[in-house]
Symmetry: C2
Subunit: 261 residues, 2 copies
Amino acid sequence: MNVTELHRIDRTVKQWLQTSRNFILAKMNENLNVAEKSSRKDLVTNVDKENEKLLISKIRTFAPDSQILGEEGFGDQIRQTKGWVWVVDPIDGTMNFVKQRDHFAIMIALYVDGQGVLGYIYDVINDQLFSGGPEIGVFQNDERLAAPKNIGLRDGLVSLSGPMVIHDRFNFQKVAETSSGLRIYGSAGIEITHLLKGEIVAYVSYLKPWDFGAGKILAESLGLAVSTVDGQALDMLSSDFVMVATVQAQQDILPIIGSNV
Amino acid sequence: MNVTELHRIDRTVKQWLQTSRNFILAKMNENLNVAEKSSRKDLVTNVDKENEKLLISKIRTFAPDSQILGEEGFGDQIRQTKGWVWVVDPIDGTMNFVKQRDHFAIMIALYVDGQGVLGYIYDVINDQLFSGGPEIGVFQNDERLAAPKNIGLRDGLVSLSGPMVIHDRFNFQKVAETSSGLRIYGSAGIEITHLLKGEIVAYVSYLKPWDFGAGKILAESLGLAVSTVDGQALDMLSSDFVMVATVQAQQDILPIIGSNV
């Protein structure tokens, strides 16, 4: 895809995101309809669902031949990644959305023939949009981001799944203690924006495709390593234990996890 | 102290905080001089020290008969709390300051004869000042904050010290799992601002007087419970395991901690 075409798509997606943000902000003045999905800690609201429908309808009009993978199930059943595949998370960090009314993100990704082309993480309340891809670079709003410094585990802060730390999954307690400190923000999208800004050096959690679809594109475009927890390539259609890290922090963490996978 | 006098002090402290914020922002463009205090995870920088000197000099000029308790040791040795006692933390969350250049706070508190009168937590980068006290109310910048809802542990997010979760101190792993989710932000001041806004329902960590001095005043002014981890009154001159929580969350957490103190 040429750069002119990429910029045309980029401008269009940013318009959708503005519409979507305004929709969410308006809905936050009303009572939320909150339901549990797999557990009391896995929530969905009417706003997640309505926002996914809104974004999918925009995509269908703009690029009708696309496949769409949406968290709330209003997209397609996808079995192969040929052609254009959009990945949509209408509200990432729904628990934060419900309990904090802050620290959640809209995320959209575009893959073409399995390759990440454009990614978007939009911190709605703070109006910070992280966008871009390997061809056009990565931006925070209008400011181009430089690659984060390649800092190792010992000299950086890490973000790990809270339950996985508590149960010491993958030797995570040692990962946390080796680092300069543990942080937990509660939204994969928000955690990855901290990585893009160089504020943390690694993030590891169990993620579904819509949790990492956009972040993978943005992180890799800035030279960060994105893999499974044991350093293997990610399948963009599968859920997995995912590590996003500086190259050095990834190399520091893999031996600590070692045979605990 | 009458309300006119409180407002005069309030306006003055806010001027110091603006000066102090500008000083820190200017210094962030220079190289930091970072040193370890008790461990590699307990940092101090030249900016912590210089900002404490700046604030203490303001206080000495404004209220020369005061005692001053400062984190970096440029204040007084305080043995009793009679009269005016100022508590100063020039940069709370120094690790965040060094590694993230964000998510840290300037904190100032004024106690008179041991009673909290005015507290200030200033999120420097995001320019959000939490200020006030029992007489004049609590504000986020110019907006008065209402008391947070009295939400229990199960229905709210909690913030706990990362190392204490890892070592399951005080049965903290069960506290986290009983809650709706664990968050860790890495600055006592910032954690307490999340409580003031109702975004989390409890925060527990080992804190020194300058870590909780301002937060205790602001939290209690909004009806939150501030105590030691086993529900006892805090001594404002002593370090302790401190819990700041909604009344309901405190009641939910105390039996989980139970005999583990």
